[in-house]
Amino acid sequence: MDLDFAPEDETFRQEVRAFIAQNYPKALRDKQDKGEEMTKEDYFSWHRILAKKGWATPSWPKEWGGTDWTPTQRYIWSEENARADTLAILPFGVSMLAPVLWTFGTEEQKARFLPGIRDGQVWWCQGYSEPGAGSDLASLKTRAERITGDDGKEYYLVNGQKTWTTLGQFADWGFFLVRTDPDSKPQAGISFLLIDMKTPGITVRPIITLEGGHEVNDVFLDNVKVPVENRIFHENQGWTCAKALLAHERSGIAGVARSKRNLERLREVARTEPADDGGKLLSDPFFKRKVAELEIDLTALEFTELRTLAGESSGKGPGPESSILKIKGTEIQQRLTELALEAAGHYGAPNLRGLGHNFGPVGPEEAHGVAGAYFNTRKTSIYGGSNEIQRNIIAKMVLGL
């Protein structure tokens, strides 16, 4: 039991650090610093640089573009990216769809779709949630009927509505759960379809979230024709794919490295912002204590994740174990934004969204957008299976209740 890195790991860390320093796009860094919203091209720019280096998809099987890194190397990779505050690679294709493809897809499907994901050429979105089906995903209602097209080919005719589709406004393709057998039990009649978002009948409508941002969307499907060869795995057995995907969705959800970076940022803010007594906020015993408590909790989470990786935790299998990581990880992310808002004092109030760049800053730069970030981060305990659902999972799968 030790935390030492082998010399070859240290070499790897230097290589990663140097690569990021030399190759991370300056335009992206500037936009991040100014808190500007990212375009589709922005998101892809870093992805494509990594793809060229062969580092866009480290966790993939080697044959499709994975790196064969050791767990320690992957740990270093995520630490260095957090340290450099790089824009995260979007998970929809790389970490959500890809494992489904290589596990359940045909060779043709893998060859057709995996390279576009790996190289950052095709933007994927998720079509899971529906207005009536939140945590109870299996109650989804979007229908897909088998029809024969005018061209004599077999299609699914898809009708229904999906919601909470993150960054769907940019999507080229989407992976959807649809009901192909309305008569069987909820989980039994579901199929997993890949749909070209340019297909006629698809409408993407923005959902504005409470801080004013446009990150998620409703997706309406009105007689959308999807070729049957776009179905992954067997008809009516899409739930098997869905479950695999959900497990992958939760891995890495602890977000330790990113939270460490945000904690460092919070400490910087607290070192510059004033306290009531004219000193600095980090010298205020009570604010300091909240930062210390958060730091300690984050350390506990980090070591719980490391124990999980070492197979020494008490959970059984990656599903329920990742539920703890999800709960604690999101709680910490939320407390971080909560403390940032508290640190901003009066300057948490201004809402400059939509005033345009000419308006200029109000108050200290680090206070900009903290309230919006706080509001937005409330989502983390709701999405990906709410934290209440995660507790149900632990109760059932780990405690056997």
Binding site: G278, A371, F375, R378, I382
Partner: protein, 381 residues
């Protein structure tokens, strides 16, 4: 000893509630806060003329209805329920609170304007380097002829874009965060040397950054004694905090009621999610927080006429409870609404945003705990 409302107070509540129910629906409010001005002067006019509530808490000899803190509490709680953005707190509670004690003819005339809905006020008291310490005033007012010349910057002045007048804290003596040496001035917002940058706030109101550049005011601009406004500032801000607590109670009740209603209608796994015991107990804990907050709002308002220390202790205790409740009830209201709670389209998020800002307004939980301790525990230690 009696904690019940008078018949008049109940009537006042009913009439305000009826008006707001009728004219201050969520969609009307949404349209108003998105409009260029961000508020509805016609609503303000109705407050003055139809409801007569702008004068409710002023003494009869000033043209008011002779009500007191409980009347303000009743009005503010209803305003919280409807998320009223119009500047009642800044104008009636704070502006009026200062003016009715100023004793000058100009102040008396302005009280009449307030009651008539003709004058609106914002309190320019915050400075960036001061955080929540209102005695930390770097803005200066120097004697100049028979009057004063004011220079400095004020931060996040809530309601300033809608105000005809400002009440400004400025240092006439002393240094740093000395309480002695702070004075209060009445400044016409249109006065030469006053410049503002207006912006919306995340809870749907408007605020300004204000720069005072050699703004000259007459002797009658002074409110309270020169160098010695601190006790008056404490008194009026305590009244403002109590009023804010009442507003919070309205916000909290709506957050709780809205959550109970939503969970009853929302089905998951074949039953309304309100059937899940964990969510039931969460809503019970929210309810207890709301009830405790209402109790503390009562407590604070009752103590407003006590000695300065008792008053301050009561008000800070209330703000601590209410700050905590705003966080707990607000966060859980969103959580129990699930994804829907995250959308701009539902009212619940707007209540959450207001609750979040109330947490920090006129001092965070930590600020008021420290103030409470200095009055309750340090004195006898």
């Amino acid at each position: 000893m009696d904690l019940s409302f008078t018949e008049e107070q109940t009537l006042l509540r009913d009439s305000v509630a009826a008006y707001l129910g009728d004219r201050y629906g969520f969609d009307a409010r949404r349209a108003a806060i998105a409009s260029p001005t961000g508020w509805r002067p016609e609503v303000w006019k109705a407050f003055a003329e139809e409801l007569g509530i702008l004068g409710a808490s002023f003494p009869e000899e000033m043209g008011g209805l002779g009500g007191g803190p409980i009347e303000t509490m009743v009005v503010m709680e209803e305003f919280g329920r409807a998320l009223v953005v119009e500047p009642y707190l800044g104008t009636v509670v704070i502006g009026g609170g200062f003016l009715k004690r100023a004793g000058t003819d100009r102040a008396r005339a302005l009280v009449e304007d307030i009651i008539a809905g003709q004058a609106t006020f914002a309190f320019a008291c915050h400075e960036h380097e001061a955080r929540y310490n209102l005695a930390r005033v770097a803005t200066t007012a120097k004697k100049s002829g028979s009057g004063y010349e004011i220079s400095g910057r004020k931060a996040v002045v809530i309601g300033a874009p809608w105000a005809s007048h400002l009440i400004v804290t400025a240092r006439t003596a002393g240094s740093q965060s000395e309480t002695a040496g702070v004075s209060l001035f009445l400044v016409d917002k249109a006065a030469r040397g006053v410049s503002t940058r207006d912006y919306p706030t995340v809870d749907g109101r408007r605020a300004s950054e204000i720069v005072f550049e050699n703004v000259t005011v007459g002797a009658d601009a002074l409110i309270g004694p020169a160098d010695g406004a601190w006790p008056l500032i404490q008194q009026v801000t305590d009244e403002a905090i109590a009023a804010l607590c009442a507003e919070a109670c309205g916000v909290l009740r709506k957050l709780h009621e809205g959550t109970v209603e939503y969970t009853r209608g929302r089905k998951q796994f074949g039953q309304p999610i309100s059937a899940f015991q964990v969510l039931q107990h969460r809503m019970v804990d929210m309810f207890i927080q709301v009830e405790q907050s209402v109790s503390m709002s009562f407590m604070a308002h009752i103590h407003l006429s006590d000695s300065a220390d008792e008053r301050a202790k009561a008000v800070s205790a209330a703000k601590v409870q209410i700050g905590r409740a705003c966080k707990f009830v607000g966060q859980n209201a969103i959580q129990l609404h699930g994804g829907m709670g995250m959308t701009d389209e539902m009212a619940i998020g707007h209540y959450f945003k207001r609750a979040t800002l109330i947490e920090g307004e006129f001092g965070s939980v930590d600020h008021h705990l420290a103030r409470y301790e200095s009055l309750s525990l340090d004195k006898v230690a």
